[in-house]
Amino acid sequence: MSDQAPEMINMGLPAPRVDGRLKVTGEARYPADVPIANLAHSVLVTSTIACGRIAKIHDHEAWAVPGVIEVLSYTSINGQLGKPRFGVSSTSIGPLHEPRIWHDGQIVALVVADAPEAAEEAARLIAVDYVGTVAPSAGFDSDGAETVDASEVAGREDPAVGDFDHAYAKAPITIDSSYSTPTQHHNPLELFSTTAVWEDGRLTVYEPSQNVHGWRNALAAELKMDPARVRIVSRFIGGAFGSKGPMTPRTAIVALAARRIGRPVRCVVRRDQGYTTATFRAETRHRIRLGADADGRITAYGHDGWEVTSRPDDYLVAGTDTTAKLYGFGSVATKVHLVRSDRNTPGYMRSPPETPYMFALESAMDEMAEALGMDPIEFRRINDTMKEPINGAAYTSRSLMRCYEEAAEAFGWSDRDPEVGSMRDGDWIVGYGCATAMYPSNIGAATARVCLHPNGHATVQTASHEIGTGIRTVSAQLAAECLGIPVDAVDVETGDSTLPPAPVSGGSNSTASVCSAILKACNSVRARLFRAVVAADGGPFSGFEPSTLEIKEGKILGPGPVVMDLGDALARTNEGVLEEYAEFVPEGMNADSIRKLYAGQTPMHGGMSGPRIKCAFGAEFVEVRVHRRTREVRVPRMVGAFAGGRIMNPRTARSQLMGGMIWGLGCALHEATEIDRHTARYLNRDLQDYLVPVNADVDQVEVILVPEHDSDVNPVGVKGLGELGNVGTPAAIANAIYHATGRRVRDLPIRVESLLS
């Protein structure tokens, strides 16, 4: 296709996924698929109240079910488990450590049996008496919810610059609007599961994880054992989106059960229990004040945010850290609050800070453009900046307006009649909207081992995680390119804590971090090979300067016409396998980072901090159609243009961005976990009532990869794309709905009832 030609600039080849065959044949074994001999099955029992204490657990009937082997509850733990540490773990709540109930659906028991049917039957027979139950706080506006200043409890500084109050008071055009986003759950298709196998005092856990090294250390601490005797295996992960980033308390509980009964135990968590025993995206509220000159220059940006969290853990996303640096705001004042309530602890979910905060800001931007009578793209162009306004740090690269131009062109933005409600197609009112996407280019310390074998095959080992992003594929491509061998001659091993550690697969850091380590290891392998080739007596490159050699397509090339087959070179080196291990520490990070990585921490350099700002950008456009009578909303077209530095693989990059845009569609129109205000319990905890986009909700989705060179962002020049795609779509849809209907919906999701009079 001719329109793809310019995209080849600074892009790798669109190689098919290296694990595609395994995934289409059913041979890919996700953790709950791994066959284990003599396996016992377990089922969680969870609380039916959100606040109170367990007085008694009646497990007599459960024990009477044939096949039941063990029932664990707070009465039987006896100090055998250490408490989870919030951070690497999803919560500090040790659900079986005490009789206290902190939230709805808290684990109160684990029932183990020979067969899943027996475990399920027995689990349903467990009855719990509660005492001290009080009306729980469900979140915002609930009695007993405690609002605290997030800066004070988290030790952070709210981004601010200039005199906001003065600038806002003086601005000729102002808007002052409030927005909200709901509770959302990741709902990866794969159920959460843990399979624990003990052998000679060593523990192997098969569990979908985005952080095997972190978990190994956290699990060892909870089980009070040496991390060297714990292994986490997670070769395939059936979707994650952040839900499998922090370890949950279940892992240690299942491992303890397996140790006690002397037999492997598997626990596959029911979908409804996943809503309360793991994390979620907390609901947020926002107040935004924007002031602008008549020529469209923003002079004042004020953003107050409120985020719900649990009682004991201050989980915070504080998206103002990114939004405050998005445009050339004249003055900025921000403040973030946490609202502690009787809920399970939230956690990160795809674009954790950006999804709610950018929805609010990019909606406000549209409102301001409307107030100015200005095209929303032009309004953003006027406020585009190469230096963030808070500290004046420069972006290493920023192609936001190029993204707008390309997406607008492909979308046909020039066909838009700016007048609200002016575009119609029969019974459908048509609206066009757009919004900015941004995501920081984070990077972490990472390690990798690369082996080049005498047969010309290579092995890449790194304990990163294949959550569907294509990390195995891009790793194979990078190694193939560096070593001059075909992609299918590279085996990539990931998802095992016995491999060299890599960061948590979160914050869109993996490609940058892991590929930087692989590149370093490959360069060492090449250097060793070249040294051997020039040292070999009588070889074609004998006595050459190693730095003059290169490898391409299975051949070693020198400065002259002589070439040497890679296979011959490997045969002559007499080195056997060329194996190199590399540690990559990002610029500006402490050398101590590698030690911390081995200890299970994830030292990360955030793209929005430091002397230069590293960030990927995109522009997202949507067409919505709102039915004149029913107010049904359809989204027939979405176009996104994204600039993310070097694109390692345009095929996997497109898929990720496309999936992200559809996530944004779900966020705008479908997704919300409903909470009963009186009981603080989730109501729609399954895939029937928690709406996610289905195939029929999605029509045309176009992804444009805007060429961008950025050699300053990191050694491989890549910016993460995994979370960028869903950042702008919710606001773009809300803005398009405004254009169609004249109704500014500031609370997500936008449903039919939001648009009825």
Binding site: V24, E117, L189, T652, G659, I662, N695, Q700
Partner: protein, 171 residues
């Protein structure tokens, strides 16, 4: 392995991917669990256990069904095709499997076995005549990675190829 002490067991025979497999199962065991836990066929996935996600889709006697909502004892004697039974003996991929790779119709791959079996049925049923029809008849299979446009492209491409080659899509 010790005999599992359950309340009662029922003997059934399933024709799975062309082979007769005899099983002794708890009457509460779903077809999905029978395949996964008793026959080691873990290609079919459990995403909800409530018939809401489609990840467990299988072909039973030529029709796509949700194996998590089907008790094993109710399909005694039935002919079942799972994702493991689609490739030819020499390892060649089924045209729909190949189309899913070619169109990058998956990311994490967890829903993929169910999507592929639904896709085969969608074409066989004559519900792949247009992109709109494909979207509608593939909507029982959720994909949280949201590979939907690529799934539609894969179904369309497998359909076109089978029509061009006069080789009807079947399991």
């Amino acid at each position: 392995m010790p005999e599992t002490p359950l309340r009662s067991r029922t003997e059934i025979a399933l024709h799975v991917n062309g082979q007769i497999r005899r099983l002794s199962i708890d009457p509460r065991t779903t077809l999905l669990d029978a395949l996964r836990d008793h026959l080691g066929l873990t290609g079919a996935k459990k995403g909800c256990d409530h018939g809401q996600c489609g990840a467990c889709t299988l072909m039973v006697d030529g029709r796509r069904i949700l194996s998590c909502l089907t008790l094993g004892v109710l399909v005694d004697g039935a002919s079942i095709v799972t994702i493991e039974g689609l490739s030819s003996r020499d390892g060649g991929l089924h045209p729909v499997q190949q189309a899913f790779i070619d169109c990058d119709a998956f990311q994490c791959g967890y829903c993929t076995p169910g999507q592929i079996l639904s896709a085969i049925a969608c074409i066989q049923e004559g519900h792949a005549g247009s992109d709109a029809a494909i979207r509608e008849y593939m909507s029982g299979n959720l994909c949280r990675c949201a590979a939907y446009p690529n799934i539609v492209a894969a179904v369309r491409s497998a359909r076109d190829r089978s029509e061009g080659d006069h080789a009807p899509i079947s399991v």
